[in-house]
Symmetry: C2
Subunit: 293 residues, 2 copies
């Protein structure tokens, strides 16, 4: 039987619709949520992401600033800009597009962002709030979007066994923390590159979250029949039949597993569209918390 496709475009659209009302409420109180996006250098993919984020702000009627700095911008200059944005009352969210050029110490830059404006959820203060289950913190957008997809698809997490493959600070670890929290109550396993018997571990999952960044790495032997699969991977593989010469695939071998799982996020169109929607949600939340509205 074909699995239920968890449609990230639809869920993201619903998240944005809910935000429209909240933004209208904040505007009536005299507050327009504002996001500053900072890009250092001219990485083409980063330019696309930054453009999409600024466009999403415009579509929702949010205030935004787009800062494109030359690739040779110094650490000092970048931190100076962060401090300026921290002090700018029109700005409630600050995001430095990753990865910056190699001469920039990204962790040190993030430490300079006011944690109340850290809508990417990368500042240590927000990392800790996630572990401590403090709801005023900011959670990284991708795992936050994964949780929203599970919720929208009506997937019960309490008492279920969730396996998160990947232990990055951006996806794997925060995802595991979200799933094990008292709000979700899943039993959570974190697997990674050093895990032995990875397929067997994955096969014990009621909910499988793949965040490894390796195309089609997880196949049919990784799926318990009826499992829910959240595929965070966005991998380019060569495909001469496509105009661009490549296509995008996930970390899960969709064709191999679709007959086994009960629900799955397609790639593209699953987790991908959620990230910017959750960034908008975090920016609105930051505004609400900063102005106390």
């Amino acid at each position: 039987m074909a699995p239920k496709l968890i449609n990230g475009k639809e869920v993201a659209a619903r998240v944005r619709e809910d935000l429209v009302q909240e933004i209208a409420r904040l505007k009536q109180l005299g507050h327009t949520p504002g996001l500053a996006v900072v890009l250092v250098g001219d990485d083409p993919a980063s330019q696309v992401y930054v453009g999409a984020k600024v466009k999403a702000c415009a579509e929702l009627g949010l205030y935004s600033q787009e800062w494109r700095l030359p690739a040779d911008t110094t650490q000092e200059k970048l931190v100076e800009l962060i401090h300026q944005l921290n002090a700018d009352e029109r700005i409630h969210g600050i995001l430095v597009q990753s990865p910056p050029p190699p001469h920039i110490d990204e962790a040190a830059v993030i430490l300079n962002i006011d944690p109340r404006k850290d809508v990417d959820g990368f500042h240590p203060a927000n990392v800790a709030k996630l572990v401590l289950e403090d709801p005023t913190g900011f959670v990284p957008c991708t795992p936050l979007g994964c949780m929203e997809l599970l919720r929208a698809a009506g997937v019960e997490t309490a008492g279920k066994h969730a396996v998160v493959v990947g232990r990055s600070m951006i996806v794997g670890k925060p995802m595991a923390n979200l799933l094990v929290s008292k709000a979700a109550n899943a039993t959570v396993t974190i697997a990674h590159s050093r895990t032995k018997n990875l397929a067997e571990v994955c096969r014990s999952a009621d909910i499988l979250v793949a965040a490894v960044g390796r195309p089609c790495m997880l196949g049919a032997d990784c799926i318990k029949p009826g499992a829910v699969v959240i595929d965070v991977g966005i991998n380019r593989i060569p495909d001469s039949s496509r105009p661009r010469g490549y296509r995008i695939v996930g970390d899960v071998d969709f064709d191999a597993v679709q007959g086994l799982c009960s629900a799955i996020t397609p790639v593209p169109g699953g987790v991908g569209p959620m990230t910017i929607a959750m960034l908008m949600a975090n920016t609105v939340k930051a505004c609400r918390q900063i102005v106390g509205a």
Copy 2:
């Protein structure tokens, strides 16, 4: 076959021996590590713990301050003392004995401790450093002691499946973070009160860490033959045959599991003795980092 008993008293003694050399080195450079222990109120158990910590300092030749404040001490007064200790150059570690009286907001107090002196590892800055795998951070003493026991017992963690039962901020969560880090490389499952089929989950563990606080909760059905068991529980149960009228048992039913596991920490004498040894280690580390020696 009887399992190997992981002797916490012996391992703790070895940790302290190693510290003696490091303390001598620091003293030669003109620095004596100093710990301040703060107790609010007169809880008998807390008084015993505080006394033991101060005594451990004396035995190692560390400088210590013991602050016993009345139960009606205000939040403001307590925070004032914390600030004083933050500024005291003789003090490198600050510990507020938990739990404080109910009128004290413990989290708010901890936020006031200089993270460089937070030898309990409860400050959000240190919670984040553990997740981010920053070795300059402080890890809570009990999970740190559990890792030391595994190391001392020659237990390989890489590629092994570790199951941590319990998701507290003091033991379960930091223990899971330690085990999943690149330094340990275990595949880690966090189970808790909402886990279904707890025995089955535990039975998949090569390394089982019990931190639930319920006497003898985990029995033979929770043990994979050959597993290593770390029992963090310290529970009093009535026992009229003992002079005190009670005895101390762990979260694991020792008698039931000892024929199955390959190694186990006894209770008492396993994890318990490690906590103060790791507090001493954290205090020496804090001194080393603060003075840059």
